[in-house]
C-alpha cells in the first residue's frame, strides 16, 4: 500500500518552525503506513506533540521515559510476537535518548535482535532542556554546557560519537545515515529498513534552529550543506558488514566546510581562527580518503 498521500502525523503540534524532526517523523510514518506502533524517548518530539488531551499521532504511540525507548519497543515487539502480529514497531529518539542516556537500552535491543526500526533524529545536543552538549555534539560546537570564552575558544572539545558505526558494529540487520534534505535517498532507506526483519537503525541528521542558531527558513539548505561538504556522509551497512559499507551519495564537488559553519551561530566563534576550520576540513578529507572508495554509482 502507498500511504504517501495520507498524514499520520497531524499538524498543529508545538515543534518550532524550521525544526527538522517533524519532517523526518511525518515521512517515516507516511512510508510505514498505519500498521505501525511508535515509541518515543523523552525529548522535544514527545513533549511538543502530545500535550494531553491533544495528540499529533494518528498511529498508536507510547512514551515511557528518556533512556528506555528501545527497551519499551523490545517489550512491544515481544508482545506482538506472542500475538502473531506483523507490524512496524518504530522508536524515535533524539541524540540524548539514543547516544547517551538511552545507549544501553538501545545496545541491548539490537543485540537481542528485536524487529524494531530505531530512528535517531540527531540535532547534536540536548535541545529539549536548552542546548546542552551531548555525546553527539560535534567538536567545536557552542552549547550551554560547552561554552566559548577566553579560556576555551573552541566550545565542545571532544569529537562526535559515531552512533551509526557503533550500532552497525552490533551486527544490526540494517544501519544507514540519512538526511531529509536528500529526500530520495532518505525515502529509499526508510523503505529498505522497514523491509528487513530484525533490528534496524537510521541515523538522521536533524537541524534545530534554536540550538544551531540559524534562520528557520534555512533548515533544508543547512542540512544539505552538511552532506555536500562531506561532513555528514550518507551510507548504509547490512548485517554489520562495515567492510562493505556502501556510500549512497557523493557530492560531485565538495563544498568547503565554511559554508556549513557560517550560517550557524553555534560555530561562529570557530571562524575567527582558520586553524579550527582547517582542522574540521582535514577530518572530512581524511574520512573521504579512507572511505570514499565505498561509493559506487
Amino acid at each position: 500500500m502507498n500511504y504517501e498521500k495520507e498524514e499520520f502525523f497531524a499538524p498543529g503540534h508545538g515543534m518550532c518552525a524550521g525544526c527538522a524532526a517533524p519532517i523526518i517523523v511525518r515521512w517515516v510514518l507516511k512510508l510505514a503506513g498505519p500498521n505501525t506502533i511508535v515509541v518515543n524517548a523523552t525529548g522535544c518530539l514527545e513533549v511538543a506533540t502530545t500535550a494531553y488531551p491533544r495528540t499529533s499521532w494518528r498511529v498508536p504511540w507510547m512514551h515511557v521515559a528518556f533512556e528506555n525507548a528501545a527497551a519499551a519497543a523490545s517489550g512491544i515487539e515481544a508482545a506482538a510476537k506472542v500475538k502473531g502480529e506483523k507490524l512496524n514497531i518504530i522508536a524515535f529518539g533524539g541524540d540524548g535518548g539514543t547516544a547517551d542516556i538511552g545507549f544501553q537500552a538501545l545496545s541491548g535491543m539490537v543485540e537481542r535482535g528485536h524487529n524494531v526500526l530505531y530512528v535517531l533524529y540527531d540535532n547534536e545536543a540536548y535541545m529539549n532542556t536548552g542546548i546542552q552538549r551531548s555525546g553527539a555534539t560535534p567538536w567545536g560546537a557552542w552549547t550551554t554546557t560547552s561554552k566559548v570564552g577566553n579560556a576555551n575558544p573552541i566550545g565542545k572539545l571532544e569529537p562526535k560519537k559515531p552512533m551509526a558505526r557503533i550500532i552497525a558494529a552490533h551486527n544490526a540487520k540494517y544501519v544507514a545515515t540519512a538526511n531529509p534534505a536528500f529526500f530520495q535517498d532518505f525515502k529509499k532507506k526508510v523503505q529498505k529498513a522497514l523491509s528487513y526483519e530484525g533490528p534496524k537503525f537510521l541515523h538522521v541528521i536533524s537541524s534545530c534552529t534554536t540550538g544551531w542558531r540559524h534562520d528557520p527558513s534555512k533548515t533544508i539548505e543547512i542540512m544539505k550543506l552538511a552532506t555536500d561538504t562531506g561532513l555528514f556522509p550518507l551510507w548504509e551497512v547490512i548485517d554489520g558488514d562495515l567492510e562493505n559499507m556502501r556510500i549512497t551519495y557523493k557530492p560531485k564537488k565538495f563544498k568547503p566546510i565554511e559554508e556549513y559553519l557560517k550560517p550557524q551561530g553555534r560555530f561562529r566563534h570557530l571562524l575567527k581562527n582558520p586553524e579550527y576550520v582547517k582542522k574540521i576540513q582535514e577530518q572530512i578529507d581524511a574520512w573521504w580518503a579512507k572511505y570514499g572508495h565505498h561509493y559506487h554509482k
Partner: protein, 399 residues
C-alpha cells in the same frame, strides 16, 4: 499436587499458571532462579511465552510496560538494587495503570553490599503506586502471585503489584507447596482481557502523553481512588480464593488476638518464628497476640484500627529503617491512630536487617521492652534489637 519447591519457583509457577505471555527479566541475587526457571519452562515447551533477556532491570520494567501496553499479561522479578534501578519506571507503570505483577526477593540495599533478607527494597518503593504483598511462605508466594493478577487486572483497579518473598529464607528454601491445577487457575483468573487502552493500530491512541498542571492531579487522584478501592477488591479475591482453593488470606491476619494486651505486628517469613514464639507465651498465660501484614499497599488502616484499638501495646517488628524517623510500618501505624481516642502505645522494633537472624531471643527482647511500656515505664519509641550498639557508638565517637 504437592511439590517441593523454592520460593523463587513459587513465583515462576505463579507466572506459568497465570499464563503470562511476556517475561522481561534481569538476574539478580536472590531472585535469579525466577528467570532461570522461566527459561526452563519455555525450553521444555511447558510455557508459551516470550522471555526477553534484557540488559538491566531498568529495561526489564520498561519492556514490561511496552508488552503490557500492547495488551498481554506480563510478569517480571527482581530484588534490592535491581528494584532500586527500576525506581523511576515504577511510577510510570502505575501512572499508566498497567497491571504488571513483579516478584521481589526481598533483600537489603548497599552499602555495605549485602545479599540477605530485609524489606528495605520494597519499602523504598512504597510511594510508587504499586500494590505490595508480603509472603510468609513459598505457598503464599505462589498464591499471592496468582491472586495479584486477578486484583491488578480488575477493571476497578488497574494497578501493578509486587509480591515479596524473603531473600534466602524463602527464595532459596525448599518447602512443600500445594500446586493448583492449571484448569482451576484458568477458572479463577480467566482469560486476559486488558481493561485499558492498548497500542492497537485499529484504534490508535497516545499513551504516556504530556500532562500539564491542569490535568496532572486528576491522574494522580485516579490512582489514589484505585488504591483505596483495591482494599475491597483484595478482600473479594482473597475470599474467592479461599472458597476455591481452601487457603485463607487476609490483608491483616490476626492470631491469638482474644484479650491480647501486647500485639506483635510482623511481615513475611519472620511471622512463622513469631507465631511459635507467641504460642509459647500464650501457654505461659501471657496475653500476647500476633498480626501479620500481608498487604502493605494499600495500607490496611481500618482493619488495624479495629484490631488494635483496645490493645495496650502494639509492637511493630520490622526489617526496614527510614533514617531520621523509624521503620516504615511503625510510622504508618502511628499515623493510623493519630486522630483516634482509643489507641495502643505504639513501639517500633528494628530487627533482621541484612539477613540477621530473627530468633526467639530477638522476640524475647521485643516483648521485654513492650512489657515495660505496658507497665507505664519509659521506653524508646524506636528500638534497635540484636545490634552491637557499643561498637557503633565507639566508632561514632560517642563512647
Amino acid at each position: 499436587m504437592k511439590v517441593m519447591i523454592r520460593g523463587n519457583e513459587s513465583i515462576a509457577y505463579a507466572f506459568k499458571l497465570a499464563r503470562v505471555k511476556v517475561i522481561p527479566a534481569y538476574p539478580i541475587t536472590p531472585s535469579t532462579l525466577v528467570p532461570e526457571k522461566i527459561s526452563e519452562f519455555i525450553a521444555n515447551g511447558e510455557m508459551d511465552a516470550e522471555f526477553v533477556t534484557v540488559e538491566s532491570e531498568h529495561s526489564a520494567i520498561s519492556a514490561a510496560i511496552g508488552a503490557s501496553a500492547h495488551g498481554v499479561r506480563v510478569g517480571t522479578a527482581t530484588a534490592s538494587q535491581g528494584l532500586a534501578l527500576m525506581h523511576e519506571v515504577l511510577f510510570i507503570a502505575s501512572g499508566m495503570r498497567l497491571p504488571i505483577v513483579m516478584g521481589i526477593g526481598n533483600r537489603a540495599l548497599s552499602a555495605p553490599i549485602n545479599i540477605w533478607c530485609d524489606h528495605q527494597d520494597m519499602m523504598a518503593e512504597r510511594d510508587t503506586g504499586w500494590m505490595q504483598f508480603y509472603a510468609e511462605s513459598n505457598q503464599e508466594g505462589l498464591d499471592l502471585g496468582i491472586m495479584a493478577y486477578r486484583i491488578a487486572e480488575d477493571e476497578r483497579i488497574l494497578l501493578p503489584a509486587m509480591v515479596g518473598i524473603d531473600a534466602f529464607v524463602l527464595t532459596h528454601t525448599v518447602e512443600p507447596v500445594e500446586l493448583p491445577e492449571q484448569k482451576d487457575v484458568d477458572d479463577f483468573i480467566g482469560e486476559f482481557v486488558p481493561h485499558y487502552v492498548t497500542l492497537d493500530p485499529e484504534k490508535p491512541a497516545t499513551l504516556g502523553s504530556f500532562g500539564f498542571p491542569e490535568h496532572y492531579m486528576e491522574f494522580k487522584y485516579g490512582q489514589w481512588i484505585a488504591m483505596e478501592r483495591a482494599k475491597k477488591v483484595i478482600d473479594e479475591v482473597f475470599q474467592e480464593f479461599e472458597e476455591r482453593f481452601g487457603r485463607k488470606y487476609k490483608r491483616v491476619y490476626p492470631e491469638f488476638m482474644e484479650d491480647a494486651e501486647i500485639v506483635l505486628i510482623t511481615m513475611g517469613s519472620m511471622t512463622s518464628t513469631t507465631r511459635e514464639f507467641v504460642r509459647r507465651l500464650r501457654a505461659q498465660g501471657k496475653k500476647v497476640g500476633l498480626l501479620k501484614l500481608t498487604t502493605f499497599r494499600p495500607f490496611p488502616k481500618e482493619e488495624l484500627k479495629a484490631l488494635l484499638k483496645d490493645v495496650k501495646v502494639a509492637a511493630v517488628v520490622e526489617r526496614n529503617i527510614s533514617f531520621g524517623f523509624g521503620g516504615a510500618v511503625y510510622g504508618e501505624l502511628a499515623a493510623t491512630f493519630a486522630n483516634e481516642e482509643r489507641k495502643p502505645r505504639i513501639l517500633d522494633f528494628i530487627v533482621g536487617l541484612g539477613g540477621r537472624d530473627i530468633t526467639f531471643k530477638t522476640l524475647e527482647e521485643v516483648v521485654k521492652i513492650a512489657e515495660k511500656a505496658e507497665k507505664g515505664e519509659d521506653v524508646d519509641e524506636v528500638n534497635w534489637i540484636d545490634v552491637n550498639k557499643e561498637a557503633v557508638l565507639k566508632a561514632e565517637g560517642l563512647l
